[in-house]
């Protein structure tokens, strides 16, 4: 009986088991499990998780086996529970680093077991720490501006103190309700300030960490912090708005007020006054013709505009007009003159009114040449004289100013001596012989003086030749005496030392404007320029020169030697065609003593050419005379 029962049960069981079609279930060995991941939180332990395959309808068990490199021993996981289901936890004793683990999971059930694929891991490569702990967020203030201070601690398991693990941190912030987080990388520090806060509200903060060569941890639990509204910050803005609106209100009120009394337009845009220039024609302006305008602006009686060179203004001269003047190389002289002028102009002499013609700046050579050459210009003279006259008016104060308007008109008439009528009586015409051309040039050169320079040949007075050209043009000749202290006139050869010469008669003075070579003669001091006035011309063919002492005198305190000596007498012309000047002993009480003897001052300044029969026009440089020591 029992045996029948057992067989029936077995049969029943078999039927049940082996009728799958009817029931749809089938038992099979377990499916292949799969190791999903292994992680180590602190490089001291690690855990592996797997995913089981199908269980085949039967209870299956899993087992994990591992093998370390260098060893063939197979170990089984000793802890399947600490880490949860389907996990294996390797404790410290079982964990070795820098060692490869070969891990396999086996699933087994009643029908069999299935091995998973083996996995090789090295613990140091699978480090994923726990999230940071004790995250604290506080609100702090910096100059009335709030910011968040977040601080945290590393996960307690990670040993960062010994340097076993090096962690870097990252945190993220967002306002409640926002979708996006604001990320901040914090490096190895455990403290972080967040300044990018907006208005009041609730903020969420989270922190996570990562080892130097590993995986990021999970985010820490969210910390909530509430930022109060900072009204006082906004208060300042309200104040600003209030002030601004008050200002606008005031403007509106004022504009309304203005509009009620007067046209607002009139207030804001007052009428533009028209121009009130005398003699100015608005129509001209409207016509828009600039030329007319400019012409109108230019006043006719405006003092003559500045000459080409301001030196011209300083030029005074006595021009003795030679009738038969020829056009000497005007251009050349002019060029020279210009160059001289320019040169002179460059160095400004403060004391423009100085009587002495000594000029620091005169270029000897050029000036000398210019002196001689430029004399011829008639027309030029006229204009220049006119200019000079005009300029001279300005220089009235100047002691040098002796020229006047009468000089201005050079005439072609021969032998008219132009003088300064205001000062002197008109001089009779006289003629001077023209010296040789070259020599005149030389002499002219030599006659250049400067205060400091020792002009070669500036020994004695001289008469420069005028018109140094091949043609002995100067018939009657004329004296041209340069008055300018500094700036020679264009057509007048420059003469440093100028004399006022008055020719009293029409006498041929065969004087030669030629200075001796005063080689080695030093000019010890300033040569005060002396002005000599030709008073008369004696029958003896003597030119009496009267020294003229200007009131202005020699500002620099020159020894008033001029007062003491009077070289007003032309003794005569010697055989050498030298003009001998003679001083009249008129000692005045002067400041200084004159070392010069009267006789000494009788120098013939220049020697003309022997050929020159005619008296040369030249300059009598009495100043030089007296300054020079006797020899």
């Amino acid at each position: 009986m029992k045996e029948v029962m057992e067989e029936a049960v077995l049969l029943f069981l078999l039927l049940v088991i082996y009728t799958p079609d009817a029931q749809g279930t089938r038992y099979s060995p377990p499916g292949k499990p799969e190791l999903t991941r292994c992680r180590s939180p602190e490089k001291e332990t690690f855990t592996c998780w797997w995913k089981p395959g199908s269980d085949g309808g039967l209870p299956t068990t899993h087992a994990l086996y591992y093998r370390k490199e260098n060893s063939d021993t197979i170990y089984e996981c000793s802890d399947y529970h600490t880490a949860g289901e389907n996990s294996c936890f390797f404790n410290k004793n079982d964990t070795s680093i820098w060692v490869n683990y070969n891990i396999t999971v086996v699933a087994s059930n009643a029908l069999g077991s299935t091995f998973s694929d083996p996995v090789d891991i090295d613990v140091v490569y699978i480090v994923k720490p726990n999230p940071p702990e004790k995250v604290t967020v506080t609100v702090m203030e910096l100059k009335e501006w709030p910011f968040l201070r977040v601080s945290w601690e590393p996960p307690h398991k990670a040993d960062t103190r010994s340097g076993w693990i090096t962690l870097i941190y990252e945190l993220r912030v967002k306002l409640e309700g926002d979708d996006e987080w604001e990320m901040h990388l914090a490096g190895q520090q455990k403290l972080f300030n967040i300044f990018s806060l907006r208005s009041g509200g609730t903020y969420h903060v989270q922190v996570r960490c990562k080892p130097d060569h590993g995986f990021w941890s999970e985010w820490s639990s969210t910390s909530h912090i509430e930022i109060p509204d900072y009204l006082h910050r906004e208060k300042s803005m309200w104040i600003l708005i209030a002030v601004f609106s008050a200002f606008i209100f005031l403007i509106l009120t004022w504009s309304l007020h203005m509009s009620s009394h007067r046209s607002l337009k009139h207030c804001i845009l007052p009428p533009v006054p028209g121009p009130k220039i005398k003699g100015f024609d608005k129509q001209l302006l409207k016509n828009g013709k600039s030329e007319d305008l400019l012409r109108v602006l230019v006043v006719s009686d405006f003092p003559p505009t500045t000459p080409s060179n301001y030196e011209d203004m300083l030029v005074e001269y006595l021009e003795v007009y030679v009738p038969q003047e020829q056009e000497v190389l005007l251009e050349e002289s002019k060029d020279l003159h210009d160059s001289c002028l320019k040169f002179e102009g460059s160095t400004s002499d403060n004391d423009s009114g100085r009587v002495s013609c000594d000029s620091h700046t005169l270029l000897m050579d050029k000036c000398g040449e210019a002196k001689e050459e430029g004399r011829q210009t008639d027309q030029e003279d006229s204009t220049t004289e006119a200019e000079a006259q005009g300029q001279q008016k300005d220089w009235d104060q100047d002691t040098l100013m002796y020229a006047n308007g009468d000089i201005l008109s050079p005439e072609k008439s021969s032998g008219r001596v132009k003088t300064w009528p205001s000062v002197f009586s008109p001089l009779p015409q006289y003629t001077l012989s023209l010296p040789d051309q070259t020599s005149s040039l030389e002499m002219a050169k030599q006659h250049c003086y400067s205060d400091s320079l020792f002009c070669p040949g500036s020994t004695s007075s001289y008469l420069t030749h005028l018109g140094n050209n091949d043609n002995e043009t100067l018939g009657p000749g004329s004296w041209e005496i340069c008055l300018s202290n500094r700036q020679p006139y264009s057509h007048i050869p420059q003469m440093q030392t100028c004399q006022q010469v008055r020719s009293h008669s029409d006498v041929n003075i065969s004087t030669i404007a030629r200075k001796q070579e005063p080689a080695g003669l030093p000019l010890p001091f300033f040569r005060p320029t002396a002005y000599v006035e030709v008073q008369r011309f004696d029958e003896e063919d003597m030119v009496v020169l009267q020294s003229i002492v200007s009131d202005h005198g020699f500002h620099e305190g020159f020894p008033q030697m001029l007062q003491q000596e009077d070289y007003s007498k032309v003794k005569g012309v010697d055989s050498n065609n030298m003009l001998l000047l003679q001083t009249e002993a008129m000692k005045e009480d002067g400041d200084g003593t004159t070392p010069h003897k009267p006789t000494a001052h009788i120098h013939t300044v220049v020697s003309t050419q022997d050929e020159m029969a005619q008296p040369a026009s030249g300059y009598v440089d009495t100043a030089t005379i007296f300054t020079l020591p006797t020899y």
Partner: protein, 208 residues
């Protein structure tokens, strides 16, 4: 090689107080460089693996065959922290020195790779060599400040690839193997230096 588990703080502190450039700074710089070295080796290793998946995985030589396996190194934290500073430095220097020649070989074979990413790999290998060299120099300087023990270097012979005429697959596999060995060793170096850094910076906990 005998392990010296005695920590000798006197040597370290003396060094710290007398050096012109603080040892902490030197260690910090060395740590940064070793960090970079390991990162480079990791990326290079992954680059190689990605292009040679199947074959490489199957025939991957075991890491115990690395030529530096002869050098005994700690295998867990306890052992590591027991090492003296001089020992740690000596180990790091030995490992680094052992890789100077192999890196040349790696560079050569990387240049002749039948590999689509050959240029990238070559560049990375070259960068690797540069970093290794500079780290070696830095550790040299450090070792002089830390006494004779730190200056001893264990010699680890490296046997070049026997067959120059290796087929390409074999050379590639060899390359992968070498890179995996180097990756691990660079991690060891990095770990030792960071432990050293933290020990030297007692007054600067933020370094740890």
């Amino acid at each position: 090689m005998s392990k010296n588990f005695n920590v000798d703080p006197k040597v370290l502190y003396m060094v710290v107080s007398s050096s012109a450039v603080p040892v902490t700074d030197l260690l910090d710089r060395a740590s940064q460089r070793s960090d970079k070295l390991h990162a480079l080796s990791t990326s290079l290793s992954q680059e190689l693996n990605s292009h040679l998946p199947l074959i490489g995985r199957v025939i991957t030589p075991r890491p115990s065959m690395c030529h530096t396996a002869a050098l005994q190194t700690p295998t867990d934290k306890t052992q590591t922290l027991q090492l003296s500073e001089a020992n740690l430095l000596s180990l790091a220097r030995s490992l680094l020195q052992a890789w100077m020649d192999p890196l040349v070989d790696i560079s050569t074979s990387a240049n002749s790779l039948p590999h689509p990413a050959r240029n990238i790999i070559s560049n990375q290998v070259q960068e690797l060599q540069e970093h290794s060299k500079s780290l070696e120099d830095g550790l040299d300087i450090l070792s002089r400040k830390m006494g004779p023990v730190a200056q001893t270097i264990s010699f680890l012979p490296y046997l070049r690839g026997n067959d120059i005429s290796q087929d390409r697959i074999s050379s590639l596999i060899n390359l992968q193997f070498l890179m995996s060995c180097f990756r691990r060793d660079s991690h060891k170096i990095d770990s030792f230096l960071k432990v050293l850094r933290c020990r030297a910076a007692k007054l600067q906990p933020q370094m740890c």
